[in-house]
Amino acid sequence: MDIKTEHTETDANYDAVQVLLALSCIAATPAEVSAVARTLLRLAPQARHDV
C-alpha cells in the first residue's frame, strides 16, 4: 500500500466516523474523531491476529 492510498483510507475512516457520530447527534472534536477511527481499525474482527 503506498502512502497516497493509505492517506485516502485514513480519510475515508475519518469521514465515516464523523458521519456516524453526526447521525447519532453527537458533536466531537477532530482529534476525537481521529481517535475513534484508529480504535475501529484496531478492533476490527479481521485484525484479530494483528492486535
Partner: protein, 467 residues
C-alpha cells in the same frame, strides 16, 4: 493495645474484633476513633465523611469495623457523584445491596472515596478533584479507577473498601498502593445501587490490607451470613499448589516483563508450587480476548453515557469521552460477536489453562509501578506505553468473567510493590483468598501486604523478600 493504624487501633479486623470481644473497647468507641483518623486525610482520598450511624450489636462479625467505599455506591446517606461534578442522575432510592449486606454484618460506612470520573481511567487522574497521593511514595502513581480505595487502605484509614472493576479498576489501584485487590467472578455480587460503566464487565470488588480482612468482608458480602464455601480441593499448605504461570504477554507492542519482576515472580511461584506441579503456559489468545473486552467496554460505555454524549446530560471529561465515543461508531455485529463468544472463550480458558492447575499466575505490571508524571495524560512527560502497561494484564479477566486477586509478593529497591495476579475458576474466590493468605503469612509474617516507608519494622524473613 497495639496501635498500628492512624486511629490507634490494631491493623487487622481480627485484632480489632478481639479487643471488642474482650470488652476493652466498644464498637462505638472504635468507630469514633476511625472517624477522627479520617479527618486527618493527608492523601486527599476522602470525598465526603459520612454522618454517624447507630452503633451495631457487638456480636456481629464486623461490629466496630469502619469501611469506606469508592464514591460509586448508593449509600443511605449519599447519592454518589462517581468522580464527576454532579450526583448520579439515575441513582435508585435504596442503598446498594452490597452496602446493606456489610451493614447487616455490623460494619459502618465512614466515608465516600475519590475515583476517576465515572470509573474511566487506569489512574487517579481527575481534574475535578484534588490529586490523591500514594502513601507508599508520593511520586508513584495511584492506579484507578478505585483510586481513593487503594490509598485509604494503604494509609490505614479504614479496614476495607469496595470498589468496582470493569477492566482492572480494583486491581490496578490495589497494586500501585501495595494492598490486596479481589475481583470476584462476574455476577457473584449484585450490582444494584452501583453506577454502571459497562454492565456485563462490571464487578464489585474488595480492597483490604490483608487476606483475612478481605475474607471477612467477602463472607459478609455473600447472600447468606454463613462463611463463604471453600473449595476443599484447594491446598492447605503454601508449597502445595498446582500452578500455571505466564510471565510473557503475547500481544505485539506490549512491554515485555522486566527481568527483576520475572525473577521475583519466578521465585514466588517456585516457593508455593508442589514439586513438578508448575507449568509455564502461553496465553496466545490474550490479544483476542483484549480486543473483545475492549469492544464490549466501548459499546456498553456508550450506552451508559449516550445522553451526555448528546449533550442532554452534564458534560463528560475527555477521559470518559475517549472510552464512550468509539462505542457509538462500533458496528453492532462486532459487539454481538464478542458477547456470543464469551462463554466459549471462558470454557476454553478453564479447560486448557487450568486443566491441571488450581490457579494461573500472571504479572500485574510488566515494568513496575510508574511515576504519576509518566501516566497522566496531561503531563509533559506522558508516555502512552507506560499507561497501557497498567491495564494490559487486566481486561481479559473481566471479559472471561473469572475471579482474580492481586497482592504484593515483594517490594523493589525503590520501595514500590511487585505484585502477582492469581486467576481461578469461576466461583473460586475463597481459593484465591486462601492462596493470598498463605503468601501473606509466608512472605510478610501475616501482617498485611502494605509496607509504608515508616513501617519498615520487618522480620528477617520479610527483609529477604525485599527484592
Amino acid at each position: 493495645m497495639t496501635s498500628e493504624t492512624p486511629a490507634g487501633l490494631p491493623a487487622s479486623i481480627a485484632g480489632l474484633r478481639s479487643l471488642i470481644q474482650r470488652g476493652e473497647l466498644t464498637a462505638a468507641e472504635a468507630l469514633a476513633l476511625q472517624r477522627n483518623a479520617l479527618e486527618r486525610d493527608a492523601w486527599h482520598c476522602v470525598v465526603q465523611r459520612l454522618p454517624e450511624a447507630a452503633p451495631p450489636r457487638t456480636d456481629l462479625p464486623l461490629a466496630g469495623v469502619g469501611l469506606a467505599h469508592k464514591d460509586i455506591f448508593r449509600l443511605a446517606e449519599r447519592i454518589p457523584a462517581c468522580g464527576s461534578a454532579h450526583s448520579w442522575l439515575h441513582a435508585p432510592e435504596r442503598p446498594a445491596t452490597v452496602i446493606g449486606r456489610l451493614a447487616r454484618a455490623g460494619s459502618r460506612s465512614l466515608a465516600a472515596l475519590s475515583m476517576a470520573e465515572y470509573a474511566c481511567g487506569a489512574t487517579s487522574e481527575n481534574p475535578g478533584y484534588p490529586d490523591v497521593v500514594n502513601p507508599l511514595d508520593p511520586q508513584a502513581v495511584v492506579g484507578g479507577s478505585s483510586s481513593g480505595s487503594g490509598v485509604a487502605i494503604a494509609a490505614g484509614l479504614c479496614y476495607g473498601s469496595l470498589g468496582t472493576d470493569t477492566a482492572g479498576s480494583v486491581r490496578i489501584p490495589a497494586a500501585t498502593c501495595g494492598v490486596l485487590g479481589l475481583k470476584p467472578t462476574n455476577g457473584a455480587l449484585p450490582l444494584d445501587g452501583v453506577a454502571p460503566l459497562a454492565p456485563s464487565l462490571d464487578s464489585v470488588g474488595v480492597l483490604a490490607r490483608g487476606a483475612d480482612d478481605a475474607a471477612r468482608i467477602w463472607t459478609a458480602l455473600q447472600r447468606s451470613s454463613k462463611a463463604a464455601p471453600v473449595n476443599d480441593d484447594a491446598p492447605a499448605l503454601h508449597d502445595n499448589w498446582r500452578l500455571a504461570t505466564c510471565w510473557t504477554h503475547p500481544g505485539p507492542g506490549v512491554t515485555a516483563t522486566d527481568r527483576a519482576t520475572q525473577d521475583v515472580l519466578d521465585t514466588f511461584a517456585t516457593e508455593c508450587s508442589a514439586k513438578g506441579a508448575r507449568r509455564d503456559i502461553k496465553l496466545s489468545r490474550l490479544p483476542e480476548w483484549m480486543r473483545l473486552a475492549q469492544t464490549v467496554l466501548h459499546t456498553e460505555a456508550a450506552v451508559t453515557h449516550l445522553a451526555a454524549l448528546r449533550e442532554q446530560a452534564p458534560a463528560l471529561s475527555a477521559l470518559v469521552r475517549a472510552i464512550a465515543l468509539p462505542g457509538v461508531a462500533l458496528p453492532a455485529s462486532w459487539y454481538r460477536e464478542a458477547q456470543q463468544m464469551r462463554a466459549a472463550h471462558a470454557q476454553h480458558f478453564v479447560s486448557e489453562m487450568l486443566a491441571d492447575a488450581d490457579l494461573l499466575l500472571t504479572p500485574v505490571f510488566p515494568a513496575g509501578v510508574p511515576d504519576t508524571t509518566e501516566v497522566w495524560t496531561t503531563s509533559p512527560s506522558f508516555r502512552p506505553r507506560r499507561l497501557f502497561e497498567l491495564f494490559c494484564w487486566m481486561s481479559f479477566v473481566n471479559y472471561l468473567g473469572l475471579p482474580a486477586v492481586i497482592f504484593p509478593v515483594a517490594y523493589g529497591t525503590n520501595g514500590r510493590p511487585i505484585c502477582v495476579q492469581a486467576i481461578a475458576r469461576p466461583g473460586d474466590e475463597s481459593v484465591l483468598l486462601r492462596f493470598a493468605g498463605q503468601a501473606e503469612m509466608h512472605r510478610f509474617d501475616g501482617r498485611g501486604f502494605v509496607r509504608l516507608p515508616s513501617q519498615q519494622h520487618l522480620s528477617a524473613r520479610c527483609e529477604q523478600n525485599y527484592a
